[in-house]
């Protein structure tokens, strides 16, 4: 290989630059950063258990949306028999007091931007 010294140095420099964010965060002690979410004071009242909600809340909300808008079904029967109105603004946000410190914080961390709040209103945001 011609100029192997330069090429290999180049590759190493490239790898260092491309992995810079990882090194930087490790050096600053932020490698294990997990957003701290604000949970409802009154826990255990959620429409499903937290493992399911954590993994599938977007599917649940999509199902709610389709059932309410397309089929006119508004009452959700939870696995344990309790019933809820299928509503993001009125049911979810009744317990989850802070959109910023719950929804947004995690969504920002994962770099996803759902457009729920383009239309739906956070009742707490309204009061401010």
């Amino acid at each position: 290989m011609y100029d192997s010294g330069k090429v290999i140095t180049g590759i190493i420099v490239f790898l260092i630059i491309i992995t810079f964010p990882v090194w930087y965060n490790v050096a600053r002690g932020k490698a294990n950063y997990v957003p701290e979410l604000e949970y409802p004071v009154d826990t255990g009242r959620c429409v499903a258990d937290s493992a399911y909600i954590r993994a599938y809340h977007m599917d649940l909300l999509n199902t709610w949306r389709d059932q309410v808008v397309r089929e006119g079904i508004r009452v959700y029967r939870a696995a344990d028999g309790r019933t809820f109105e299928m509503s993001l603004s009125n049911t979810c946000m009744n317990c989850h007091q802070s959109k910023e410190n719950f929804c947004d914080k995690c969504h920002d961390y994962l770099s996803v931007s759902p457009y729920c709040w383009d239309c739906h209103i956070d009742p707490k945001e309204l009061k401010r």
């Binding site: 006119g72 508004r74 603004s89 457009y115 239309c119 739906h120 209103i121 309204l126």
Partner: protein
Amino acid sequence: MKIDRRKFIKFTGLTAIGLAGTPAARAFTGEDSLLVNEAGRQPSVENPLTAKRWAMVINLKKCIAQDGCTKCIDACHTVHNVPDFGNPKDEIKWIWKESFEHAFHEQEHEFINEALKHAPTLVFCNHCDNPPCVRVCPTQATWKREEDGIVMMDWHRCIGCRYCVVACPYGSRSFNWRDPRPFIKELHPDFPTRVRGVVEKCTFCEERLARGLMPACVEACPEKAMVFGDLEDADSEVRELLRNNYTIRRKPSLGTMPEIYYII
């Protein structure tokens, strides 16, 4: 101060009347009237209002007599977060007033009653039995609900192509050319706003019917000029009105079969 028995009884009586009358008065004057339905039940998704075919009868005589009244329009536009852009080019309207000759140009003629000709006529989505907007929608964002005939809007699905705006012969549909949220005077948290690039219109207060409440306009009308009910139920108030009055519909010759009837 000395109070004799006579005075005491008078005061007690008046106080009792006052206490009993307060909730009723509040229901008529305040915003509570938008929250509690006629039967006095708390609104809940557990007891919705249902019908086989929702329809509306508007008594134009009663409506016109209330000159300059905009209570139904205000109520509707408040509970549905309808923005006010302050210019007719971007205007969003769910329910509005049109002069009689424009609303009913098939019935209008040269020598028509001068008072009627320019009379402000209440118009909104006709929730047609054969809705042309539904036929043209490429994403089924608007569709006719088979169980009760309401022409629905799904703002999640609307792509803003505006075919429905062109197809609707009544001008009932408005397009959001701009982001509406900054132009909503008072945000109503129970109902979503829309975003730029979707079409909106009256939905017969589908979300209120689901909670057992009458449409906001019907509830707000001080003259009870708007009557809402089930067209398939022969004993309903709308059928009673249609039986006993001569009624007209907008542009019947188009075959859209509108479900808003006008007593003139």
